[in-house]
C-alpha cells in the first residue's frame, strides 16, 4: 500500500513536469522539499528520562506532495512508541491540505498499520493544525489532533504552546489505550532562533490519560498523568 501511494505521488509529479514542455521554462511547477524536525528533545519525566522526536517532511510540487511524518519517544533506551506515516498531500482549500496514506506503528507490542486521512494547515489566528483519522487493519479506529501557535516574544525568541489530543474507537489493552478521548498532551516550549533554520528550546509538557486509558496505566503501575521538562532543538532544511 505504501509503495502504491508513493508511485501515485511520483507519477502525479512527473505528469505535471511533462506538461511544461514546449513552453517558456519557468519554475512554477518544480519539485521542492522540506525536512523539518519540529522536536528533537531530551526529557525528564516523573517516570524517568528519555528522548522524543516529531519530524515532518514533504517533497513535491505546489499541488502534489509526498509527506513523511514521524513521532516517537524512547525511555531508558527502549523505544516506547513510534510511528511513521507516508501520505499523499494536496491543497484543497485556502489554508488546508488533505493528506491520504498509511501509518506504521513500531512497538511496543506487535507493529501495526493504519490507513490515514487527514488535513494539515493553518487555522484562524495562525494556529498550525493537524487532524488525522486512522483505521487499523483490524478495524481499529484512532484520531489525533495537534495544534500549536508561535507567540513572538521577539522576532527570534518564540514561545510555542501546543495541544495534542488522541482518540480511540475501542479499548486496546495491548497499547494501554481506552476508547474515547485517551490522551491529552499540552506543552509550552520556548525557542531561540539563532538562525531561522536552527533553534534550541526548553519547555514543559503535561500529559494526561483519560477513561480506560488511565485505568490501563494505573493497573500497570503508572500514573495517569506525567509532567516533563524538555530541552531540544528544532531545525529544518
Amino acid at each position: 500500500m505504501k509503495a502504491a501511494l508513493l508511485a501515485i505521488a511520483l507519477a502525479a509529479i512527473a505528469c505535471n513536469a511533462a506538461a511544461q514542455e514546449h513552453m517558456h521554462a519557468i519554475h512554477d511547477n518544480t519539485v521542492h522539499s522540506l525536512v523539518r524536525m519540529d522536536r528533537l528533545e531530551a526529557f525528564d519525566a516523573d517516570r524517568g528520562t528519555g528522548q522524543a522526536w516529531k519530524a515532518r517532511a514533504w517533497i513535491g510540487t505546489d499541488t502534489d506532495k509526498l509527506w513523511l511524518r514521524s513521532e516517537g519517544e524512547r525511555v531508558g533506551g527502549d523505544t516506547q512508541a513510534s510511528d511513521l506515516e507516508a501520505l499523499y498531500g494536496r491543497p484543497i482549500a485556502r489554508w488546508w491540505d488533505v493528506l491520504l496514506g498509511v501509518r506504521h506503528d513500531f512497538g511496543p507490542g506487535p507493529s501495526r498499520d493504519f490507513a490515514a486521512i487527514g488535513v494539515t494547515g493553518v487555522a484562524p489566528g495562525k494556529i498550525e493544525l493537524e487532524a488525522t483519522a486512522y483505521i487499523g487493519s483490524s478495524g481499529h479506529a484512532q484520531a489525533r489532533i495537534e495544534a500549536d501557535y508561535d507567540a513572538l516574544l521577539t522576532n527570534r525568541l518564540v514561545l510555542q504552546p501546543m495541544l495534542e489530543l488522541g482518540f480511540n474507537g475501542e479499548d486496546d489493552p495491548v497499547r494501554h489505550l481506552g476508547s474515547g478521548l485517551s490522551t491529552m498532551e499540552t506543552g509550552l516550549r520556548l525557542r531561540y532562533e539563532i538562525d531561522r533554520r536552527f533553534a534550541p528550546y526548553i519547555g514543559i509538557v503535561y500529559e494526561r490519560a483519560y477513561g480506560d486509558t488511565a485505568a490501563f496505566r494505573r493497573s500497570a503501575g503508572e500514573g495517569a498523568s506525567d509532567t516533563r521538562i524538555v530541552a531540544g532543538v528544532r531545525f529544518w532544511f
Partner: protein, 594 residues
Amino acid sequence: MSFDLPYRGALAQPSRRRFVQGLAAGGAIAGLGLWPRATWALQSAGLPTVLTGTEFDLRIGETPMNFTGRARTAITVNDSLPAPLLRWREGTTVNLRVSNALPRGSMHGEQTSIHWHGIVLPANMDGVPGISFDGIGRGETYQYRFDVRQAGTYWYHSHSAFQEQVGLYGPLIIDPMAPEPFAFDRDYVVMLTDWTDLDPAALFARLKKMPGYDNYGKRTVADFFRDARREGLHATLEDRAMWGGMRMTPTDLSDVNAHTYTYLLNGTTSLGNWTGLFRSGEKVRLRFINGASMTHFDVRIPGLKMTVVAADGQYVHPVTVDEFRIATAETFDVIVEPSGQDAYTIFAQDMGRTGFVSGTLAVREGLRAPVPEVDARAVLSMADMGHGGTAHEMPSMPDMPDMPGMDHGSMDHGSMDHATPLSHPDSESHNPFVDMQATSLSARLDDPGIGLRDNGRTVLSYGMLHSAFDDPDGREPNREIELHLTGHMERYAWGFNGEKFSQAQALRMTYGERLRIVLVNDTMMTHPIHLHGMWSDLEDEQGAFQVRKHTIDMPPGTRRSYRVRADALGRWAYHCHLLFHMESGMMREVKVEA
C-alpha cells in the same frame, strides 16, 4: 551634449575586470592592506563600461565577484557588472551579437538570453526563451538586429532562469533624434540592484519552504501590549483577529529583503560609494534604473530637489519631488542642481525598510555627505490591502467571490477615493492558491505608497506623472481585459486570476486593436507588471490617457487600468517583474494575431 569625464575614463580601460571593482566596494578587504591602492585611488568604483554605436559584441560568461567578503560567481556581459552601458541612437539599426561563453555546467544554466526591457521591436528580437526564440545555447551566438524607434533610459537583462539575480543586467540609453526638452550639464546612470551570495535557486527553494524567512519585523507580544495601550485593548484584539483570520502579517512588504540582499548602486555597495562629480550650479541628469530582482527602492538625495523629466524612458511634464519609489524594472530620469554643498548622498532604501544603498554626488572624489537612517518600518493596514478603511470589514472569502453588500463607505483616507466594488473571476473561487481577495479598490494614483505617506517630504506618485505628449493612439479602447493579480503567501504560489503560467492559456489580442487592460491586485504584495513589445499607457481615474510606461506598479488594494495598442505581431511575455513571483507563475503569454 557633453558627457562626463568618468565615462571617458572607463572607456580608456575597457578590459578592467569587474571583480577588481567589486573588491574595492568591500572596505574590509581593502583595509587588510592587501590591496594595490594605486589602481583604484584614481576614481571611484561602479563606473560603467560604455559601448556606443550600432555594432555590439556582447559575451555572456561567468565572472568572480565579491560584494560581501565572500567570492561568488556572477553572470556578466563582457565581465562587467552591471553589464556595459549600451548607448544607441534613435533612428539607427543596431546589430548585437550576443555570444554565450558560459562554462559547461554553469550553476545558473548553460542557456542564456538578453531581453531589451521596454524596447519596441520584432517579436523574435525580444529575447524570452520559449516565447521569442529558443534562447542562446552554450557556445552559440545570437544576432539581434532591429531598428531603434524610440529614445530614453532603459535597461536590458537576462530572461533565462535566475541569471538576472546574479548580475546579468545593464543600462541602455538611446539618444533621441530631436533635442530633448530639458537641459543638463552632466549625465549619470544610477542603476539600483540587489545582490545575494546565495544561489538564487536555493533562495527560491527557501521561499517555498518558509516564505517569511526574511521578515524579522513581525509584530511581537510587546507590540501587542504597546498597541493595546495606544489604541485600546478592544481595537488591538480586533486588529490581531483580522490579521490572524487572514493568516497574514502586516509587515510583509517584501519577500526578500536586506537580511538576504546586499543592495548595489552601479554595481558597488555603499562602502564602494559610487560618486558622480559636479561643479556647483551645474544641472545633473540622473538616470535611475531599478534593475533589482525583488526590491522596490525609495530614493532621495537629502538637500536636493529632483525634477522628474522622464519615466520608463518617456518624457513627462517635469515634476519636482523630494523622493520617489521606483519599482523593479522602472526607470526615472531626474534633473538635480547641486550647489552650496560639496557632497550629497543618493540614498535608496528598500520598501520594507531593512537596508539601503548609497552613493554620492560630490565636487571631487573621496567626499561623503551624511547618510540618513533607514525610515521606520511601515505596517500595512486593511485599507492598504483593499479591505475598506476600518477593521470592521472582513475580507472576502474566495468561496464567496462577489460580496456586493459589503460596506465600502468608511474609507476616509485621502487617497482612497473612487472605491469600486468588484467581482472576481470564477477561477479564483475555491482556489487553494488564492489567499486573499480585495473587496474595495481604487486606482490610488495619488498615493505615494505604503511607508511614504505624510513623511514630510514631497513624494512622487503615479498621479503626478503626465506624458509630455497626447495619447499616441488616440482611439478609445474597443474592449477591456480584466486580470486579477493573485497569490498565496504561505504556499508561495503566484498567478493571474488564480492560475499559474503553466496552467493558463495565452491572452489573445488582435493586431491593430486598442484595448484596455484592467489590473486588480488581490494580494498583499506590490507587483510591477510588465508587458513586452507594446507600451502600457496608464489611464487616470477617469479613464483618460495619462502616462506612457512599460512597467505598471500595482500596490496591494489597487485597481489600475492602461491602454495597449496591439501593434506588434507575435508572442510576447507579460509578467510581474519580481523575479520569484514570475518564476512562481505570475506570468502570461500574450499573442498578437492578425
